[in-house]
Amino acid sequence: MTLDCNSLPDEEFRTLFREWVLENCPAELRYLRKQRPVYEEVKVWYQALAKKGWLSPVWPREYGGMGLSPGKHMIYVEEWGRLGCPRIPDHGIGLTGPLLIHHGSEAQKAEFLPKILSGEHIWCQGYSEPNAGSDLASLRTTAVLDGEHFIVNGQKIWTTLAHCANWIFVLVRTDKEAKPQRGISVLLVEMNTPGVEVRTIENLRGEADFCEVFFENVRVPVHNLVGDLNNGWTLAKSVLGHERIFLGSPTRAEYALDRLDRLAADRGAFEDPAFLSRYAKLRLDLYDLGSSYERYAKVLRSGGELGADVSVLKVFATELYQRITEEMLNLAQEEARYNDDLLIEGGQIDAMNLFLDARAPAIFGGSNEIQRNILAKAVLQLPG
């Protein structure tokens, strides 16, 4: 059994984790420009984490996770970001694992969890469809029971990293007659099953990190159904617990502001009162995001649970990230026409890259309009 990190004082754990990362995360993988590297690109880092037993911060220790408390998990994520560690294909760790731990059968846990930890199974998440994005419950991919198999037909889209995953967990419609939310189930599907086809989609940044996944008469063994039939909607909604706070993490905005700062210093913009005024607003918005984030972090550290109100962080953080990158293009003046990086003394600033990247977070993870709907209903309790 590995060390129980929860027993360490926070700062001791932070130092321990930090020092280990510095030793084990290869320098060339840190501060990668690419947001979503594929498994092969970050395999060394993935395996180093796996070997240490630190790949999966939240899973209980009995399943090979670190079993970190939310407070310690916050530290893990903070240091990860601060040290510029690359994102690993983490759907298995962040989504499939918790799904199976809470709702899977013993056989499913025994089969799948160790293979996530070893890197043998790389997962992706099949939720959105061409006509079911924000309105996810209207999804139409079907699974029909046929003896010991479900026959799956339909299409998923915006499936991040599907092209380098070998397993997918999909939301499928298993009862067409029921209310939209009531007839949905979760299936685990191996990507090399006949009838599964993946096509990558190039995004605005010129990377192909999300995909379309087509299912044509794909046979999925019945024992790959997670939880009860037609209960998938509830399962899907319960996968993210305290991790919802990370959707509102200030990390992206912090990074972008640091870039803006350097660009502005290089261009002498801090001498310009008009720029200073706009910069001050952005800087203070980031500072205040930190104060609000800390408020929710405190809840987690003291063992509490997050309410629906945590969504406010996601809305604010992602919109702030956008505004900061917009100011970078404003500051760039005619250089905003370039697709490649802006040159500053002793380095370069990926203004356009960040500006384009900032379009995505306000859309994914539940668009900001959906978040506002949730806040209106669940927190402010406004009428229908």
Binding site: F270, L276, S277, Y279, A280, K281, R283, L284, Y287, D288, L289, G290, S291, S292, E294, R295, D309, V312, V315, F316, E369, R372, N373, L375, A376, V379, L380, L382, P383, G384
Partner: protein
């Protein structure tokens, strides 16, 4: 609904909240504010006396000066509750700033006299510490004050004025009797119905016994002002929070096109954004309190600038949008919602408005 969320193990904060709520039951804020406005007074002495009896005036004065020895945590809870109840008072300047100044000066009989009077509600201390042009000189064992100071609250009701003046290379903090000869007071109505004065000192003679402190006082004056800014930020959060609550209730009750207007998505999203502003302001104030308590002066200053700027912007934004969402009703004087906006504008511009505090934040942060 938005609230300052702070640990309250011994229940003191809850007690203070209840105490302000009970006070507001007896003297509803909007009513007091309208009365004050029509009376053209700058302070309701009777109300101030009751606030003193409740123990809210000079709350942060140390026990050695007869105070309760409570901290900024308790002060922001009081200020927030006053804002929420729209109770008009010069709390931030005539209580928080004046007592912070008194707590920072060397011991003297004058200091003790003012502190005890402040706590009992007998001494009303107006503060004039932000006029760079005020000068002092020593003449035959007296201090002679000259110059002008703007934006002084409770000047007409004051028994004493705490005045900062420049004397050669040093600063002097002097307690000036409000009826001193040579002092001219020019009062103007503030947007929320309170009053603000400008003071003209012309060869005003003050006894040297009234000299509270001398030397390089800039840092301690700024520290005192920052505590007042924190109280203002909390009061603004209270205003923002209540203006939001009233707007939420109104839009849930107001039926048009066959349903409450808060049922329309365009209104819902707007309400969510306003609520978020109020929540962020509350978190910013809690952060300021924690930074002050942690003791790093620089971190505390930055946090206070941020909190005051955020709270002022939130309260005025919510006030403006609230008026719009109340429709034509919101444009009437009879409807209380406008009072929240007006008070927010006044407090927001007191001791540094949002934009100037943000710039100050950047200057100090980048100077490091």
């Amino acid at each position: 609904m938005p609230q300052l969320i702070m640990d309250d193990a011994d229940g003191v904060l809850e007690m203070l909240r209840d105490s302000v709520a009970a006070f507001a039951q007896g003297r509803p804020g909007p009513q007091s504010l309208r009365q004050l406005r029509s009376s053209e007074a700058d302070l309701d002495r009777e109300q101030w006396q009751e606030m003193a009896q409740a123990g809210w005036i000079g709350l942060m004065l140390p026990e050695a000066l007869g105070g309760a020895g409570l901290g900024i945590r308790e002060q922001v809870v009081i200020s927030f509750a006053l804002g929420r109840a729209l109770i008009p008072s010069p709390m931030a300047t005539a209580s928080v700033l004046s007592s912070a100044l008194l707590a920072t000066v060397p011991e003297s009989a004058e200091q003790r006299r003012l502190a005890s009077g402040l706590i009992q509600g007998q001494a009303i201390l107006a503060v004039a510490v932000s006029a760079p042009g005020l000068t002092a000189r020593l003449l035959d064992g007296a201090i002679v004050l000259d110059g002008r100071c703007e934006f002084v609250e409770a000047a007409a009701s004051a028994t004493d004025l705490l005045v900062l003046a420049r004397c050669g290379e040093e600063d002097m903090l002097v307690s000036v009797p409000s009826d001193v000869e040579g002092l001219e007071r020019h009062e103007r109505p503030a947007v929320d119905g309170s009053r603000i004065a400008s003071l003209q000192f012309s060869s005003c003679l003050v006894k040297t016994e009234r000299l509270l402190a001398r030397g390089a006082l800039h840092t301690q004056i700024e520290t005192a002002i920052n505590l007042a800014r924190t109280a203002l930020a909390a009061e603004l959060c209270g205003l923002a929070s209540q203006a939001f609550n009233l707007t939420r209730t109104y839009t849930c009750d107001r039926v048009q096109f066959g349903k409450p207007i808060a049922g329309f998505q365009v209104i819902q999203h707007r309400l969510v954004d306003l609520w978020a502003e109020a929540e962020f302001a509350c978190s910013a104030v809690v952060n300021a309190v924690e930074r002050i308590e942690q003791g790093s002066a620089r971190e505390a200053r930055l946090a206070i600038y941020a909190a005051k700027a955020r709270a002022a912007d939130a309260a005025t934004l919510i006030g403006r949008q609230a008026i719009h969402l109340f429709g034509a009703m919101g444009f009437t004087d009879e409807c209380d919602i406008g009072l929240y906006l007006k008070r927010s504008i006044n407090l927001g511009a007191t001791l540094g408005q949002a934009e100037s505090l943000r710039i100050q934040f950047i200057r100090e942060e980048r100077a490091a």
